[in-house]
Amino acid sequence: MGKTLVNKSSLTISENGLEKPTSSKRLEVLKTYKIYIGGQFPRTESGRYYVPTNEAGKKLANVCLSSRKDFRNAVVAARGAVSGWSGRAAFNRSQILYRMAEMLEGRKAQFIDELIEQDNTKAKAEKEVNLAIDRLIYYAGWCDKFQQIFSSVNPVASSHFNFSVPEATGVVSIIAPQGDSLLGLVSVMAPVIAGGNTCVILASETKPLCSVTFSEVLHSSDLPGGVVNILTGKIQELASWFVDHMDVNATIYCEKDSNTQKSMREKSALNLKRIFFYDKVNWYSAAGQSPYFILDTQEIKTTWHPVENIASAGAGY
């Protein structure tokens, strides 16, 4: 998979006129790396592509160079999916995240190959895939629990019942970690969707292969279209669109570039979207997973309702 862009295969014409390989080697079918929007795999609307290479200088693939219009379409898809996804039972979201882990487990070999292609050792690649699977399981378990941990019933001093619960903020745009292209993406995505949000993710620019393949895992996990949308392309080109879209509720940026961080926070003021920089997280460590990541893209909603007969209990009304 994705081994080379061009496979040489010399063909000759046989006596009976049929094409026949000169050797017994089968021609490999190459994979087209497309983007993932609204549960479909379109090419970029721009028709553009770029060619990331690994350290050895080997070309990885013709990867879609997504445009701002792809991002716009992805946000429309993500917005359309919010009410359905956030309205699902937390238990159901949990099952779907678990299903993702199952699917990832089943295609483990492919991911390991791609990670090796993207400059990982076999051992490190295996570790990353294993951790990514475990991380999905971790957040699958949180879906129907974090709300209990972070909710409260507030003992107000009047005759009211009052409780506060976390609730999905809506559409989250994510610029995924560049380095740990699979684990980073899974670690940032999982808490966002576990909490009922939908998202648009810009995958690792230099190591996009397994991000695209991961969208195929998503596609076969009963995840409704539009909940996760994955684009490939250049941070420089897309970062500002990710943070100034008025219909995006929160933005997560996982790199350390301080100029980008500054300009993203400035632009976030446009509609006061919530902005988070996950630039100091080691995704391999225990600190790489936590329900507090879920909490980042939650809003706390407090609901009041009168309660009869508290103040005058025993005294009728």
Partner: protein, 507 residues
């Protein structure tokens, strides 16, 4: 002596069964005599300096500005105009107190200082209420029964958290941020100071708080209380000034956190200003709350809730229920009841204990409100205001409502921050949810219906941080408050309000 009154005892006539010809008369022969609160229970100095490092310090800027009573347009006092050098001094005092005293203090001792401040606010409640009303124009009934007691309660609530933070954040250690720069608005001057200071110092931070330009006095009284309480110098610094002072505080590199309550426009400026810095922020900004009445609602209580929702504090409330959605089948009845209720609202001297609606906080705010009244009429909405008399001097606005309002009218979209209600109608649940959420704001919302399952449907789907079902404008120190979308981020109050002032470390 007799109390018999001369008037007709016959029932009013009905024309062809049309009930809209029947009117109740609220301009009654028995009326309330003036019941003014005495000013003598409060003392206001002619001039106030800055409260920095536990002392009253003359401003390095050497400048002072005047603060007025909006009900009489009389000068109450003059307060220091803190310049950037003053801000710098205050931040340094706070930093010094943080590094050397407050962060090292045993949490239970920190708690006792805060409890003590709470008690002292209660002891001086009457004086604080009077000054709040004189300086800001709100009715004494509200400062006495709401602002001051709730402020004290807020200190009480957070005091107890100081030595219990390990229970607030499971599996994490809460660490204070350092110096918090806090900027508060003019609508609830003392209460907002309490909302800001109490959680900040309970979690171990120190504070520089800037009051609103037009309402500095109760926060300065609070500074006196803090001084008297023996709180270590520099833990709380209270400075006065206008927007430039606030900007100096926001931009000061020694500040670790900005907590701001005010307009969405200024909130955005702050968010831009702190980009590229380590500063954390919580912003509590504007709103345009939808208040929804269904046809099965407890209508009289809903009407009262709408009245309190929009006319409380002259409508100078970010969570005011300024967009009323009434189901069409009961719209006429609700509007009639609203108008009847408006007739018994008394506008006037905020110091009178019977006043329901006091003075508009400033001339400029009155101009803003009047601008919107004009816009509303030009947009074709029908304006109704109560007929109560207004005092000659001062800034006043009668309780007002607009009917025939469309969703696209500016008076249905923009925050007016005055006693002005826009009434819109709807037919179905889905329609009203869509309209209610059709706003860049998301601070609060209200719903009135007798049906439990509908309440849960509505409260779940409404995009706002505080939802009042069959009630409105309720606040409590234990209850988190704060918005979705452009109403800001972060929560104040309750367990969730602690998060705004700590970072969480792995244990």
């Amino acid at each position: 002596m007799s109390v018999t009154k001369k008037k007709s005892r016959t029932n009013p006539k009905r024309e062809n069964g049309k009930s809209n010809t029947i009117k109740l008369k609220f301009d009654t022969s028995w009326s309330y005599a003036p019941a003014p609160e005495s000013k003598s229970a409060a003392s206001i100095k002619p001039q106030y300096d800055l409260f920095i490092n536990g002392e009253w310090q003359k401003p390095l800027s050497k400048k002072y500005f005047e603060t007025f009573n909006p009900a009489t347009e009389e000068k109450l006092s003059e307060v220091a105009d803190a310049g950037s050098a003053d801000v710098d001094k205050a931040v340094k005092a706070a930093r010094n107190a943080y590094d050397n005293v407050w962060k090292k203090m045993v949490p239970k001792e920190r708690a006792k200082y805060i409890f003590r401040i709470a008690r002292m606010i209660q002891e001086r409640a009457r004086e604080l209420a009077i000054i709040e009303t004189l300086d800001g124009g709100k009715p004494i009934r509200e400062s006495r029964d709401f602002d001051v007691p709730t402020a004290a309660n807020h200190f009480f609530y957070y005091a107890g958290w100081a030595d219990k933070l390990e229970y607030a954040f499971p599996n994490r250690k809460a660490v204070p941020l350092g110096v918090a720069g806090q900027i508060i608005p003019w609508n609830f001057p003392l209460l907002m100071a309490a909302w800001k200071i109490a959680p900040a110092i309970a979690t171990g931070n120190t504070v520089v708080l800037k009051t609103a330009e037009s309402t500095p006095l109760t926060a300065l009284k609070l500074a006196e209380i803090i001084e008297e309480s023996g709180l270590p110098p520099g833990v709380v610094n209270i400075i006065t000034g206008a927007g430039e002072t606030g900007a100096a505080l926001v931009n000061h590199p020694g500040v670790d956190k900005i907590a701001f309550t005010g307009s969405t426009d200024v909130g955005k400026i702050i968010q831009r200003a702190i980009a590229g810095t380590h500063k954390k922020a919580t912003l509590e900004l504007g709103g345009k709350a939808a208040n929804i009445i269904f046809d099965d609602a407890p209508i009289d209580q809903a009407v009262e809730g709408v009245i309190n929702g929009i006319y409380f504090n002259q409508g100078h409330v970010c969570c005011a229920g300024s967009r009323l959605y009434v189901q069409e089948s009961i719209a006429k009845e609700v509007i009639r009841k609203l108008k009847d209720r408006m007739s018994s609202l008394i506008v006037g001297d905020p110091m009178d204990k019977n006043t329901d609606i006091g003075a508009i906080n400033s001339r400029s705010q009155l101009e803003t409100i009047q601008k919107y009244l004009k816009i509303g009429r030009e947009e074709g909405a029908e304006m109704y205001e109560s007929g109560c008399p207004l005092p000659g001097k001062g800034y006043w606005c009668r309780p007002t409502l607009f009917t025939n309002v469309a969703q696209s009218n500016r008076i249905a979209q923009e925050e007016i921050f005055g006693p002005v209600l826009s009434v819109l109608t709807f037919r179905t649940d889905d329609e009203v949810i869509e309209k209610a959420n059709n706003s860049p704001y998301g601070l609060s919302a209200g719903v009135w219906t007798d049906k439990g399952s509908k309440i849960f449907n509505m409260t779940r789907r409404m995009r706002a941080g505080v939802i009042w079902a069959n009630t409105f404008n309720k606040f409590d120190p234990s209850s988190p408050f704060g918005g979705y979308k452009e109403s800001g981020f972060g929560r104040e109050g309750g367990l969730h309000g602690l998060a705004a002032y700590v970072t969480l470390e792995n244990v």
